[in-house]
């Protein structure tokens, strides 16, 4: 691990393209849940800007509002107060059909529990978003096979989720999330249920996607290996952003993350 320590500090940050634009912006984001009179405030005002081509990790203990934050920026839920702008468009103004289009074409989702459709084969799982997006079946099948090859599951395209291991299912989920070439990937604990080796493979895929294809990746995670590949880190605690920092501004040592503390 000590070699790792040197590597972490030695890797230079990604070149900063001067004309980066904001792909997701939140302004004063607040969310509370009202359950039979008991009000739980999940987010208490979050302002953040996420740039295209970025790899940002969101960290925080459970109950900190991480998942809620993800729901907001993924257009899966609407805030109680404040606004979310996706590509400069206020998400609250969108109709149901526009939201569906958004989720289909612009944003890809990867969940900790894979969320594959159990009665469809791997290929069918991957091609479903393409079908929703209006791709013809033959074309969809071709692209689906390519994506499965990309994640290394080319021979298992006809297997159903129940016949695959966790890692393989997660890889299928990744392939699925890339189906319509989204601009943003939202990953909720992608390596949470996986063993070390498989998790490493997943991280490599994500890194490749981010560097080569320029996909914006937003990851919620506990996995410290994510630190290797991300550009920025964000800590959320008690519904507020505790800290956002670029990786090269941090001193990372085993067991602790130093640098400026909040």
């Amino acid at each position: 691990m000590s070699e790792k320590k040197h590597e972490m500090n030695a890797t230079p940050p990604k070149p900063d393209h001067g004309r980066r634009r904001v792909i997701i912006r939140t302004v004063g984001l607040k969310k509370h849940y009202d359950m039979k009179g008991v009000v739980t405030e999940a987010l208490r005002g979050v302002d953040v800007e996420i740039y295209t081509g970025e790899f940002i990790s969101v960290m925080g203990p459970s109950g900190s509002g991480k998942t809620t934050f993800f729901n907001m920026i993924g257009a899966l839920d609407s805030p109680s107060a404040g606004r979310v702008f996706i590509d400069e468009v206020d998400a609250a103004q969108l109709t149901a059909e526009e939201l569906a289009y958004l989720r289909c074409n612009k944003i890809g989702y990867i969940f900790q529990s894979y969320n594959l459709i159990q009665y469809m084969t791997a290929l069918e799982n991957v091609t479903t978003p393409m079908i929703f997006g209006g791709v013809l079946p033959d074309e969809a099948r071709k692209r689906g096979m390519e994506l499965l090859d990309l994640v290394g599951l080319g021979e298992r395209w006809h297997h159903r989720p129940i016949e695959m291991s966790g890692g393989q299912q997660q890889r299928v989920a990744i392939a699925r999330s890339l189906a319509n070439q989204p601009s943003v990937l939202l990953c909720d604990e992608p390596t949470g249920n996986l063993d070390l080796a498989t998790g490493q493979g997943i991280l490599e895929v994500l890194q490749r996607l981010n560097e080569i294809k320029g996909v914006t990746v937003i990851c919620a995670t506990h996995d410290h290996r994510m630190l290797d590949i991300c550009d920025r880190l964000m800590w959320i605690r008690d519904g507020r952003i505790q800290r956002i920092a670029r990786r090269d501004e941090l001193h990372i040592e085993v067991g602790a993350i130093g640098g400026e503390t909040a």
Partner: protein, 540 residues
């Protein structure tokens, strides 16, 4: 703000949606089986009722003529021997139309002018309606309205001021009962009633006179014997007396039937003699006291048995004759012995009585039946069987409703309630399905599925189940209904099964199953479509 191009968010092709739906069903086979079973039961219930009702209607239709013909002989026998009570005259007149034979016959016999006859006909119809109204009423209400009066007595009672008052008051107090005519019309009818009654009496007299004329031609014969004659003279005498007894159609049919009844009676009498009882008992392997008339008729359905029976008749006659000869010889012997004269005389008397009894049996019971050929016996047995089935059919089809597909009003209500229960059951099953699949639905929405797609998916799935359940239920219900009906009517009515009607009813039933399933799925699928995709993000 840049607008988002919704481009062509496609409506998913029906084929693909179908494939996805079918895969989904295969995956959750057990629960879908439960839903299918619910639909199948509801449709089977509907189909059962429909098939029974259709079968009854078909049988009623097919047998109407035959049943009418079955009653013809008895109707004529009654008409030619009794003038009829006022109620009977009212009933027959009300059933007749102006061009009917009965109408003209009555007018001629009662010597009524056409206008008088028309008036009588109208009054008879009104009277018949009133009588039917009171017949259909339940006992409590009837008693309140007209106390214990019945038949023509009702009109007598209503004709009195107190009777009418009581009727009016009681009727006003019954909210759910509506009299068939306005009270003004009723009053008019009642004031004309004495004249009507007088005319009815005229009809009675006329008929009585005609009957007396017929009696002369009858000679000493029973009416059935007279009707059964083949010569036609009696028929002519009946026509001369004024009855509409046409020679072409009615007379021959009646003659056949009357002859058949006479012959049947002959055979039944033969089965009363002890010798024939024993013969039948032996053949059927029972005790003689257990032998019934039905047993005899059952035997005679087969030609060989009929031949055997006739043989035994002849045998029995010979046996008794032989016994008579023996008794005669014995009596002769006894007369010669002086010592035992008193005892012998008693014995002779006994012998005489036995001889007489045997002669009586031979003459009254055995010989008439032995005139019949075995073929005739078998023919009679078959006719009797058919008539028994017809009588049973008549009884069973009496309570038939006149509505759509032969259903009555109450049945419609019952069906509605059962359909409602079915819808609720399916709704419940579908709601469970939605709840179990919320993850899947949320995932689909994350991938870009439109709300409408989710709804279509669920409704389509429900429709599939509706088709399958409907088919199973329709077949099952028809089989059960038909089975029960054939068991009740007897297999002789197999030919009456209304196949085309049943198929139509099955299509309707399956269609109903699909509609029910679709309707039941609307609310759950609506709820499903509205599920927020954020459910998918929740970590277990």
């Amino acid at each position: 703000m840049k607008p988002i191009q919704v481009a062509d968010q496609p409506r998913l092709g029906l084929l693909r949606t179908t494939r996805i739906t079918v895969d989904g069903i295969r995956y959750r086979l057990f629960r879908t089986s439960v839903t299918v079973a619910v639909i199948a039961m509801a449709v089977a219930f509907l189909m059962n009722i429909l098939s029974e009702s259709l079968m009854k209607r078909a049988v009623a239709h097919d047998t109407r003529e035959q049943i009418a013909r079955m009653h013809t002989v008895h109707d004529w026998a009654a008409r030619l021997t009794r003038p009829g009570t006022p109620e009977e005259i009212i009933a027959s007149l009300s059933r007749a139309e102006e061009h009917d034979a009965v109408y003209r016959e009555t007018a001629a016999m009662a010597k009524l002018t056409p206008e008088a006859m028309a008036e009588l006909h109208r009054s008879a119809r009104e009277a018949a309606d009133i009588l039917r109204f009171f017949d259909d009423l339940d006992y409590a209400r009837r008693r309140a309205l007209i106390h214990a009066a019945s038949g023509a007595g009702i009109f007598e009672r209503l004709g009195t001021p107190t009777g009418f008052e009581q009727f009016k008051t009681a009727l006003a107090g019954m909210k759910s009962v509506r009299f068939i005519m306005r009270l003004n019309d009723l009053t008019r009818f009642l004031s004309a009633w004495p004249k009507t009654l007088a005319r009815i009496e005229q009809v009675r007299q006329g008929r009585a006179q005609a009957i007396r004329n017929v009696d002369a031609a009858r000679g000493g014969r029973t009416i059935l014997a007279a009707l059964a004659e083949t010569g036609g003279e009696f028929g002519q005498a009946v026509r001369d007396a004024g009855f509409a007894f046409d020679a072409q159609v009615t007379a021959p049919g009646v003659a056949d039937r009357a002859q058949r009844i006479l012959d049947q009676r002959r055979l039944e009498k033969s089965a009363e003699s002890i010798l024939m009882l024993q013969a039948i008992a032996q053949r059927r392997n029972v005790v003689p006291t257990d032998v019934t008339v039905a047993m005899m008729w059952g035997l005679l359905r087969g030609r060989r048995a009929a031949t055997w029976y006739r043989g035994r008749l002849g045998q029995s006659i010979d046996t008794l004759k032989t016994e008579n000869q023996k008794l005669a010889r014995e009596s002769e012997e006894l007369k010669k012995n002086d010592e035992q004269i008193r005892k012998n005389n008693e014995q002779i008397k006994l012998n005489d009585e036995k001889t007489k009894e045997n002669l009586h049996t031979i003459r009254e019971k055995l010989v008439p039946a032995s005139d019949l050929t075995p073929e005739r016996m078998t023919e009679l047995a078959r006719h009797r069987n058919r008539e028994a089935a017809l009588a049973r059919a008549e009884r069973l089809t009496v309570g038939m409703g006149r509505g759509w597909m032969g259903l009555g009003e109450r049945m419609g209500w019952l069906l509605f309630v059962s359909m409602l229960v079915c819808v609720i059951g399916i709704s419940n099953a579908m709601l469970m399905s939605v709840t179990e699949r919320f993850r899947e639905i949320a995932t689909m929405k994350c991938l870009g599925a439109l709300d409408g797609f989710i709804m279509i998916m669920f409704v389509l799935e429900s429709c599939f189940l509706g088709v399958v359940g409907g088919l199973i239920g329709a077949v099952l219900g028809s089989l059960i209904g038909l089975g029960r009906m054939l068991a009740a009517f007897g297999t002789t009515f197999m030919a009456s099964v209304p196949v085309v009607d049943l198929l139509a009813a099955m299509i309707v039933a399956v269609g109903l199953g699909v509609v029910l399933a679709a309707v039941a799925a609307v609310y759950p699928s609506f709820k499903a479509a509205r599920l927020a995709p954020m459910e998918a993000m929740r970590v277990e």
